[in-house]
Symmetry: C2
């Protein structure tokens, strides 16, 4: 069931992304080419799928919100392009392909990231079938999650922590901000767009927090135990970059049981939901057993 | 009169910027410090002042729209930070101070730019006293102007044209996109926020286009004839970077008379407006005679 849901929704999302950021024949064609290179590189589309699944879980129709959903994917993709730049993580591979700056050069990669971030807002604000006041609130919250107290804040701390011993409080902050905030925004946006009740938004917020933690711990685990061919980038890059992770601060076994525990908490948050939240339930198992 | 208006509005804008991007004491304090470093470096605040002046010109109260106005200044500032990076123009000075990456390093400068762009949207979407549907439309248009078919498109062409002979059509596109689009968005946003009539929006659009051209030609002239102490960055950087400009494609005298002609067109666009557009009229002369 989950496989079918993800396939169906990610096809819809891929088509929408292709539509929203089309090939461009004017003067700045090159920056569109670079934006499309990373955006259409076939990621898991986890954030837009979560947004749609949250809307479905509260009785809405997730597929309606493809503008906001695609905006989240564009924000995620821009953050990867900038994160991979030589002045940041200096990575050569991403999703099994050369990173953006390896293909287009640093300057165009920088502009492609800027272009995707800006396009994300343009497209989210064009979401039809939503009351303008609701849309304003949702996009504002996404901006906040992606901003300097959210994702960018997490990247800042990540960067400043390289090669340093950091404690678990800093690691927790860093992950909540760097990846957790956007997951939370995805789930909350889906619920709010579909006019969820307050208890539903609250429950999905808790789910999102625990889901984000599960995701991050498994991400750290995969960087140690993963298969480069499956994860699409070299294994061991955290250790190479001297990054504190759940696996460096705890043992592998401890990290695995922490991921399981967080996953359980995510499931508990859905207790009051019926079968319409089954996709979100299955997503937890999917993350815990993922190979990429 | 203009001096008083600019002083009054830019004081209001500086205070609002200080309020919107406050000092931050949490983990990512560094990125806030970097954002504030460039944002509060005392630029001319031309875009937010134009937004307010456009609202005033159609009988509105420009000072009300400080959220959207400040968003424009944040977008402008982020573009300068990224533009100055080593992989782009590699500039050491801006507004008479060291560029952001010279003080904070490339990675934090990159994130500070990203943070300002993201904050711009968060803050614009929080603009009070405007109907949500109008605000959505205005912010969408700003996103479009700042994006890959607008400002970022212009930067792309600028970058790809370095060291090459480009024709006047390419130069015109580049400037319209790189600086013109955001000026146009500023004027149109001010008018639309203040519920202007269609003819007023149209007239201010024409004004904006000619104003932008005037600004760009005088910018190119200043890069040749300016005083480094006044413009805050080295003179002759266009020639050093082998950039095509109005002064390289035309003579200095020709460029000067083109700037005058564009300024006249801007003034003509205001023919149907009364004294409430006097600030916009004076702005044209201000740009034509500016020393920085």
């Amino acid at each position: 069931m989950l496989r079918k849901y993800i396939q169906e929704k990610s096809t819809l999302i891929d088509l929408a992304l292709e539509e929203f950021i089309p090939e461009y024949n004017g003067y700045p064609a090159k920056v569109f080419e670079a934006m499309r290179y990373s955006l259409l590189a076939g990621g898991k589309r986890l954030r837009p799928v979560l947004l749609m699944a949250a809307a479905d879980a509260v009785g809405g129709q997730g597929a309606r919100y493809r503008h906001v959903a695609c905006g989240l994917e564009m924000i995620h993709t821009y953050s990867l392009i900038h994160d991979d730049l030589p002045s940041m993580d200096n990575d050569d591979y991403r999703r099994g392909k050369l990173t953006n700056h390896k293909v287009f050069g640093e300057a165009i990669a920088l502009l492609a990231g800027d272009g995707l971030l800006t396009a994300a807002f343009e497209i989210m604000l064009a979401q039809p079938e939503v009351a303008p006041a609701v849309l304003l609130q949702v996009v504002r919250e996404i901006a906040s999650s992606a901003g300097a107290t959210g994702m960018i804040g997490g990247q800042t701390v990540d960067l400043l922590s390289e090669g340093k011993m950091i404690n678990i409080a800093t690691l927790t902050y860093m992950h909540q901000a760097k990846t957790g905030a956007l997951f939370k925004a995805a789930l909350r946006a889906g619920a709010m767009l579909a006019n969820a009740q307050t208890w539903q938004v609250d429950a999905l917020t808790t789910y999102a927090e625990e889901f984000g933690l599960t995701f991050q711990i498994t991400d750290d685990i995969l960087d140690v135990t993963g298969d480069q061919a499956k994860i699409g980038k070299p294994v061991g890059s955290d250790e190479k970059n001297q990054k504190a992770t759940y696996v460096s601060l705890y043992s592998l076994a401890e990290a695995q049981s922490m991921a399981e525990a967080a996953g359980q908490q995510a499931l508990s948050a859905l207790d009051k939901f019926g079968p319409e939240a089954d996709v979100l339930r299955l997503m937890v198992r999917y993350i815990l057993t993922r190979e990429n």
